[in-house]
C-alpha cells in the first residue's frame, strides 16, 4: 500500500468513527415478584377438568392382566 492510500484510510477512519454502544438502562422501579404472583392468583378461576362419561365405567378391565379388551360379541 502506498503512502497516499494510507493517508486516505487514516482520514476515513477519523470521519467514520462509530458511536459507542449504549446499554438500555435498567428500570429504576423494582418489580415486586410476590405482588405479581398474587395478582395472577387472584384472577384465576378454579375450573376442574370434567369429562362427561357416557359409558358404563370399569377399571379392572384396563391395563392389567386382562388387557384392554374389546366388548364381548355373540
Amino acid at each position: 500500500m502506498n503512502v497516499l492510500e494510507r493517508i486516505i484510510s487514516f482520514i476515513k477512519k477519523i470521519f467514520n468513527k462509530k458511536e459507542e454502544i449504549k446499554m438500555i438502562e435498567a428500570p429504576k422501579r423494582v418489580v415486586n415478584i410476590k405482588e405479581k404472583e398474587d395478582f395472577l392468583t387472584s384472577i384465576k378461576v378454579f375450573r376442574p377438568i370434567q369429562i362427561k362419561n357416557n359409558e358404563i365405567e370399569t377399571l379392572v378391565c384396563i391395563g392389567d392382566g386382562l388387557g384392554i379388551q374389546k366388548n364381548m360379541k355373540y
Partner: protein, 517 residues
C-alpha cells in the same frame, strides 16, 4: 423358660425366632416344647423345623427325651424323619414302634425334606405332609393315578408347578381336585372330535371354571395363589400367564404342543404349534396359531364369541387396538409370533363352535339370549332405572348363577348388558370393592348408579346369597372400601363421592383468603 425370653421370642421375626430356639440347650428346648404349646401354635412353629437344624449330638440327646416332650405322633414322626442321615443310621429301629421306625427309614434330602418315591408304600408318608414336596407335572398317566392315592393320605403336602422357571406351590388336595376336573373335561370329549374341536372344548371349560384374579394389581393380590397350576383350577382364579399355563397343561394331555409367549404389555398367552384348523371354505390349514385363554375367560363364562381363539399374529394385533385406536401391545412379539400365520376367521370360528354344540345352528353364541333379555328389560322399565337394574341382575344370575365368585368375568358381562342411556345415568360404575371387616380384602363386585330419575343406588354381588343386594348409600359406604390402586386411578376420589363443583364466577374475597390458607 422365663417370661423375658418368651417376650423376646414373640417380638422376633420368624427367622430369628427359629434361630433363637435352635440356640437353646436340649433341656431348655424340651421344656419349651412341653410348656409352650399355644405359643408354638400361634407362631406356626413346627418342632421338626427346630430339631432338623440341630447338630448330630444335640439331635441324639433330643431323641433320648422325645417321649417326655408333649408332642403328637405326627410331630414325633416329623422330627424322626428329618434327622440327619448319620443320626438316623445310629438308631436301632428293631424295638421301636412301627410308626417311628418307618419315619426313621424314610430317605431324606438336604434340609430334612423327604425324598419322595412314587413306588413307596404311601402309608409311610402319613402325617409327614410338611416334609414332602413333589413336582408331578411330568408324571405319566399311571404315576398320576398313583399320586392321587398319595393325595388322600397326605392332603397338605406341597405340590410344585413351574412358570417361567419359577416354582409355584399348590397343596396335594388342590392337585387332586384339579386333576379330577381336568380328567372330567378331557374324558368327556368325544373321541371322534378333531384336534380343533378338542381345543375349543378345553378353552370353553377353562373359561367356565376360572376367572381372572379380581384382586390383581391391588394391595390384596398374592401372585403365589394366581400362578400355581393346580391352585388356579381349585380356587378358580388366575392371572394371565397362570391361566395360559393351565391351558398349556391341558392341551398337552390331548397331544397339542404350545409355547408360552409374553407380549410387550407383559401379557401372557399361548402359541399353539403345528395345529390343524378347519376353515369355512372347506379347506384345512396347518401351522402355528395364537390362543389367548385369559381374554376368552369372560366370553366363555357368559357364552360370548371367544374371539381370542386361534388367531393369526395379524388378528391378535388387531385385537390389541382399542376403539380409540390405542395399541395396548398386549400381543406384540414379532420375534416369537412371526410364524403364527394361521387362524380362524369369524365364520370358521362360529362353525367350529357350532360343531361342538357351544353355538347354535346359525353360529350364534348363547350370550345373544342374555343380550336380548336385557334389551326386553330396557323396554319394560324405561323410566324405572332401579327396577331395570334388578331385572338385569336377575337375568345375569340365571345365565351364570356363580356370578358373584367370578368377579372379573361378571364385570365384563355387566359392561355389555347395562345400558347407560336406558338407566338415565349421570354415571354408572361397575367395579370391585372389599368388605372392611374382611382381613383378606376379597373382591366384591358392585354397581353404583347415579341416575337422573332415581338418584344414587348401590348394589353388591352377595356371594352367600348368590344375588345382587341393594344397600342404602350410608350402609354401603360404611361396609365397603375401594382398593388403593383403584382409588389412585380415580384420582383419590371414590366414584360415589362428589367431585369439586365447577365455578362460574370469580372467587369472593373470603374464598381467596381461604385458598391462601
Amino acid at each position: 423358660m422365663d417370661s423375658q425370653k418368651i417376650e423376646a421370642l414373640s417380638k422376633a421375626t420368624q427367622e430369628d425366632r427359629m434361630a433363637m430356639l435352635r440356640g437353646l440347650n436340649v433341656e431348655e428346648l424340651s421344656e419349651f416344647l412341653i410348656h409352650h404349646r399355644e405359643f408354638c401354635k400361634e407362631y406356626h412353629i413346627h418342632p421338626f423345623e427346630i430339631t432338623k437344624a440341630l447338630d448330630g449330638e444335640k439331635q441324639k440327646e433330643f431323641i433320648s427325651r422325645l417321649e417326655q416332650c408333649n408332642l403328637t405322633l405326627n410331630e414325633k414322626r416329623e422330627i424322626l424323619a428329618s434327622l440327619r442321615p448319620e443320626v438316623k443310621q445310629g438308631i436301632d429301629v428293631t424295638n421301636l414302634p412301627r410308626e417311628y421306625a418307618t419315619a426313621i427309614q424314610i430317605p431324606t434330602k438336604y434340609g430334612g425334606q423327604v425324598a419322595f418315591e412314587i413306588d413307596r408304600d404311601f402309608e409311610e408318608y402319613r402325617g409327614l405332609d410338611n416334609l414332602i414336596t413333589v413336582s408331578p407335572e411330568e408324571f405319566t398317566p399311571e404315576q398320576r393315578k398313583r399320586f392321587m392315592e398319595f393325595c388322600d393320605i397326605c392332603p397338605n403336602a406341597e405340590v410344585m408347578s413351574s412358570l417361567k422357571n419359577v416354582a409355584y406351590s399348590s397343596t396335594s388336595s388342590e392337585y387332586k381336585e384339579a386333576e379330577e376336573w381336568i380328567s372330567s373335561v378331557i374324558d368327556n370329549i368325544p373321541s371322534e372330535y378333531s384336534q380343533a374341536q378338542k381345543i375349543a372344548i378345553i378353552d370353553n371349560a377353562i373359561g367356565k371354571k376360572i376367572s381372572h384374579t379380581p384382586t390383581d394389581g391391588t394391595e390384596a393380590f398374592e401372585p403365589q395363589n394366581s400362578k400355581a397350576l393346580w391352585k388356579i383350577i381349585s380356587k378358580g382364579y388366575g392371572v394371565c400367564n397362570g391361566v395360559a399355563r393351565v391351558e398349556q397343561y391341558m392341551l398337552k394331555r390331548i397331544g397339542v404342543e404350545s409355547e408360552m409367549v409374553s407380549g410387550h404389555g407383559h401379557h401372557g398367552f399361548l402359541k399353539l404349534i403345528d395345529v390343524e384348523l378347519p376353515l369355512a371354505n372347506g379347506e384345512t390349514v396347518k401351522g402355528n396359531t395364537i390362543l389367548d385363554p385369559t381374554w376368552n375367560l369372560a366370553r366363555q363364562r357368559f357364552g360370548g364369541m371367544p374371539d381370542n381363539f386361534c388367531m393369526t399374529y395379524e388378528q391378535a394385533r388387531k385385537n390389541d387396538l382399542t376403539s380409540l385406536g390405542l395399541d395396548s401391545q398386549a400381543h406384540k412379539n414379532d420375534e416369537k409370533l412371526q410364524d403364527a400365520t394361521i387362524g380362524l376367521d369369524e365364520q370358521s370360528l362360529r362353525n367350529l363352535y357350532t360343531s361342538v354344540g357351544l353355538a347354535d345352528k346359525e353360529g350364534m353364541f348363547p350370550l345373544k339370549n342374555l343380550v336380548e333379555k336385557s334389551n326386553a328389560i330396557n323396554e319394560s322399565y324405561p323410566n324405572n332405572p332401579e327396577e331395570n337394574l334388578r331385572h338385569q341382575f336377575l337375568a345375569l344370575s340365571q345365565t351364570c348363577p356363580e356370578f358373584a365368585t367370578c368377579q372379573n368375568s361378571t364385570i365384563s358381562a355387566l359392561k355389555i348388558i347395562l345400558d347407560f342411556d336406558e338407566l338415565k345415568a349421570n354415571r354408572c360404575v361397575v367395579n370391585r370393592v372389599f368388605d372392611k371387616k374382611d382381613k383378606d380384602k376379597n373382591a366384591v363386585v358392585y354397581v353404583y348408579l347415579d341416575s337422573k330419575v332415581s338418584g344414587k343406588s348401590f348394589f353388591f354381588a352377595d356371594k352367600n346369597k348368590g344375588q345382587f343386594v341393594q344397600l342404602p348409600q350410608e350402609e354401603f359406604i360404611n361396609r365397603f372400601e375401594c382398593y388403593e390402586k383403584d382409588l389412585e386411578n380415580w384420582g383419590g376420589i371414590r366414584p360415589w363421592e362428589d367431585k369439586p363443583k365447577e365455578k362460574d364466577s370469580l372467587p369472593t374475597k373470603e374464598e381467596q383468603k381461604g385458598e391462601e390458607k
